[in-house]
């Protein structure tokens, strides 16, 4: 199921805002201000919104667009252009491949692993879960429940155990059994804590010490995240060489616009989108869908 069909109900607020833009007959300064507001309300950020609108103004001038619908269409096209072209597949490339999940607290790392593990297992891949969040109370229990649903084994350590060694053990366990992918959870950490970011870098190194290769490091970002998301992405990218973003909780009223800035500034694309708490609530990111959903006026609950 596509992103757009999954997100219909959440979009009315955004839609009604854009409806006021569309209601006007002529393109005037008010139109541009409304568009700017709509972008800001989606957490796209001041700098990115201004850049986008400058781009749109230029194209509109060049193409002689003079109606509101045409301007909206151009804005969509500009956004799709900027988001498009990135490789959003999840790389494999080791025996086993390690997919490492990182992010601040509460963004949905464990849940994302649960859903992705179920999906990959259903697709016939042999998956091992690594309970690398040894800090949060009962995080390993939470992951174990997901592993159970996916019918996949979970490797866990004691609470407070060294996360690197848990991940290492999981990789060796997977290698010994010929598993394809290790989905490695890590404790949520605020990117300003340098000791914890160092720890993360170490977990990533240790994950490759034995038989495995870290082919994806996925930064999980909550769609409600505001402008701090860009700082988060920068810090995590520096510590753990992030290869993609998982945008979670997009089924709420938040729009996740910060990922536009993340891709623009850091070149890290969104690869997956979380749209609910169920095992099948994880979908591919598609720029056209994403932008379409952002601007849809026909999708109202």
């Amino acid at each position: 199921m596509g992103l757009r069909s999954r997100l219909g109900r959440a979009r009315d607020a955004w839609s009604s805002h854009l409806a006021t833009v569309r209601a006007s007959e002529v393109v005037d300064e008010r139109t541009w201000q409304d568009l700017g507001d709509a972008l800001l309300l989606a957490d796209i950020g001041v700098a990115t919104a201004e850049e986008l609108l400058a781009d749109v103004r230029q194209r509109v001038g060049r193409d002689g667009v003079d109606d509101v619908d045409g301007v909206l269409g151009t804005l969509k096209a500009v956004l799709v252009d900027r988001l498009g072209g990135a490789d959003r597949s999840l790389a494999v490339g080791g025996t086993p491949s390690v997919w490492l999940f990182v992010g601040v607290n509460g963004v949905g790392k464990t849940t994302t692993i649960g859903k992705l593990g179920a999906r990959e297992a259903a697709a016939g891949r042999r998956v091992v879960f690594a309970a690398g969040d040894t800090f949060r109370a009962a995080a390993a229990d939470q992951l174990a429940m997901w592993a159970d649903r996916a019918g996949a084994p979970v490797v866990r350590g004691a609470e407070g155990a060294d996360p690197g060694s848990v991940v290492f053990d999981a990789v060796e366990y997977a290698a010994a059994r010929g598993a394809d992918i290790v989905l490695a959870d890590t404790a949520g950490r605020v990117h300003t804590k340098s000791n914890l970011m160092d720890e993360l870098a170490k977990v990533r190194r240790v994950a490759e010490k034995g038989s495995g290769t870290v082919s994806e490091t996925l930064l999980v970002i909550d769609a409600t995240t505001g402008q701090n998301g860009l700082v988060q992405a920068r810090q995590f990218a520096e510590a753990a060489d992030v290869t993609g973003i998982v945008l979670t909780k997009l089924d709420g009223s938040a729009r996740g616009g910060i990922v536009v800035a993340v891709q623009e500034d850091l070149g890290i694309p969104v690869k997956l989108v979380g749209v609910g708490e169920g095992a099948d609530d994880l979908v591919e990111f598609d720029p056209v869908d994403f932008v379409d959903v952002l601007f849809a006026t026909d999708v109202v609950a």
Partner: protein
């Protein structure tokens, strides 16, 4: 990417520097910069507009006054307004006349409800209460386990069962009553504001619990959606207050402004770390400066307001280096220090100090400072400049004049002399190893802002705190303390009779 507000304001400030009053154009330029800063801090667009209007009203036509030029005055107004919005009325967690006092926590997924529940329980326990936790998050796998583990660390009982959240709440409340617990904190599953079924469910939980305090737990990193979320939860639950979590990151937390404006409910607690004790009552002034880009806005204002004090302090520093520092200078420092408030408060503001100060009777030290002031006041100007002239009869006169004992005067003079000698040595050698006694007193401003003073490792001459002048050496036992100096508190001062 994020410029601090003061660096944003710099250009405008430069332009209006020479002006006696602000014109509408100047104000609009300020407001434009303010808008970007607030949006980057995640304040909601509509809140930003309201805020701009409020500042505009106060700022147009503002004139230079005192040490502040009109530009700086606007910055000050912004800070005041922001603190006002964030603070205003406060919410006290009062106790129900008929226990138990019931607290309900609600919020989005991942906002930190479960951790907050445990932190709150710990907090109530520290207030001498007997809390009990109800784990009504049956949605997220192992959420109840998480709550049980956290509660185990603080030895607080948890009630939960594998039924449904409403039944768990009902049975939990009954359990708390039968156990005689006087505070009940109910954790609930995270839910989206647009999820009607789950919002109805939490409303039902609230109907069963009839909570005395319904708290919305909100992540400091949240963006524009904070408004939708807060409105939706408020509409269903009639919130009493807000808990702001994850303030240990570098998110500016402008969403707090949105929430406060939209639901009109105060923020009661701020969560500043992962440990259960990283939880404290909310400080509006701290968040205000954070939203505007950390403490530097205040620094900007303070620099202006206190530039005249700085000249004075520099002169004193020079005398200190020359070894011509007098007891008068010392008295000035004492007075500057006292202007900051009671010693215990000052100590509390210094990171790491509050812990060390536990159990130290600061009232005694206040009295000691009183006595020192008394002694110095009873000296002649000549004696203050050169205490060496104080002989037996002078000592008796000073003691009589200040109501102290002659040996106290001896002790003060001896310590003062030693301190001066040491300062002179340091000044002469040009190294400042232990010279920044300011770490423990005036070296850091009220908001813990960065300051050139207050670092213990900075080489070179004694750093001068621009606000408070020279720091009182040796206050506290930090690395900056002077051996045998006028250690305050911690002994070394003449004891009262």
């Amino acid at each position: 990417m994020f410029e601090s507000l003061s660096s944003r304001f710099e250009g405008v400030l430069k332009r209006v520097r020479g002006k006696g009053r602000l014109g509408p154009d100047d104000v609009e330029e300020f407001l434009g910069e303010l808008r970007v800063a607030l949006l980057e801090a995640d304040a909601h667009l509509s809140v930003v507009r309201t805020f701009q209007d409020r500042i505009r009203e106060r700022a147009v036509g503002i004139e230079a006054s005192g040490a502040l030029n009109p530009g700086q005055q606007v910055v000050k107004i912004v800070l005041e307004e922001l603190t006002g919005v964030l603070g205003g009325e406060t919410h006290r967690l009062t106790y129900a006349p008929k226990p138990p006092t019931v607290v309900l926590l609600a919020g989005l997924q991942g906002s930190g409800k479960t951790t907050t529940a445990a932190k709150l329980a710990r907090w109530f326990k520290a207030q001498g209460r007997n809390p009990m936790l109800i784990g009504a998050d049956l949605q997220r796998p192992a959420a109840v386990e998480q709550l049980r583990t956290l509660a185990g660390r603080i030895d607080v009982p948890v009630f939960s069962e594998a039924t449904d959240p409403v039944s768990v709440a009902r049975a939990g409340l009954a359990e708390a009553r039968s156990l005689g617990r006087d505070v009940v904190i109910c954790d609930t599953a995270g839910r989206l504001a647009i999820d009607d079924d789950l919002m109805a469910e939490v409303a039902e939980v609230a109907a069963v619990l009839e909570p005395h305090h319904t708290l919305l737990v909100i992540d400091a990193m949240i963006g524009q959606d904070a408004v939708n979320t807060a409105e939706a939860f408020h509409a269903r639950l009639d919130l009493d207050a807000v808990v702001l979590t994850k303030l240990d990151g570098d998110a500016r937390g402008g969403a707090a402004l949105s929430v406060k404006e939209v639901v009109g409910r105060p923020i009661v607690f701020a969560s500043t770390g992962e440990a259960l004790e990283d939880f404290e009552p909310f400080h509006p002034d701290r968040l205000a400066s954070r939203i505007l880009g950390m403490g530097d806005v205040e620094t900007l204002i303070e620099k202006a307001e206190e530039s005249f004090e700085q000249a004075e302090a520099e002169a004193a520093a020079k005398r200190l280096m020359d070894g011509t520092f007098t007891l008068d200078d010392f008295l000035d420092q004492l007075k500057a220090l006292r202007k900051m408030g009671p010693i215990s408060n000052i100590m509390g503001m210094v990171p790491g100090m509050a812990q060390q100060m536990k159990g130290v009777d600061t009232e005694v030290d206040e009295r000691r400072i009183d006595r020192i002031e008394g002694i110095i006041h009873s000296m002649t100007p000549g004696e203050r400049t050169d205490p060496d002239v104080i002989d037996g009869s002078r000592r008796a006169r000073i003691a009589a004049g200040s109501g102290t004992q002659p040996n106290e005067i001896n002790q003060l003079v001896r310590q003062f002399r030693e301190m001066r000698k040491m300062m002179k040595q340091m000044g002469g050698k040009g190294r400042g190893g232990g010279a920044s006694g300011g770490r423990s007193s005036g070296g850091r401003g009220r908001k813990g802002r960065k300051s050139s003073a207050g670092r213990t490792t900075a080489p070179g001459p004694v750093p001068i705190d621009k606000k408070k002048g020279l720091s009182l050496p040796g206050l506290g036992d930090g690395p900056g303390g002077f051996p045998n100096g006028l250690d305050l508190p911690g002994g070394g001062l003449p004891d009262g009779p």
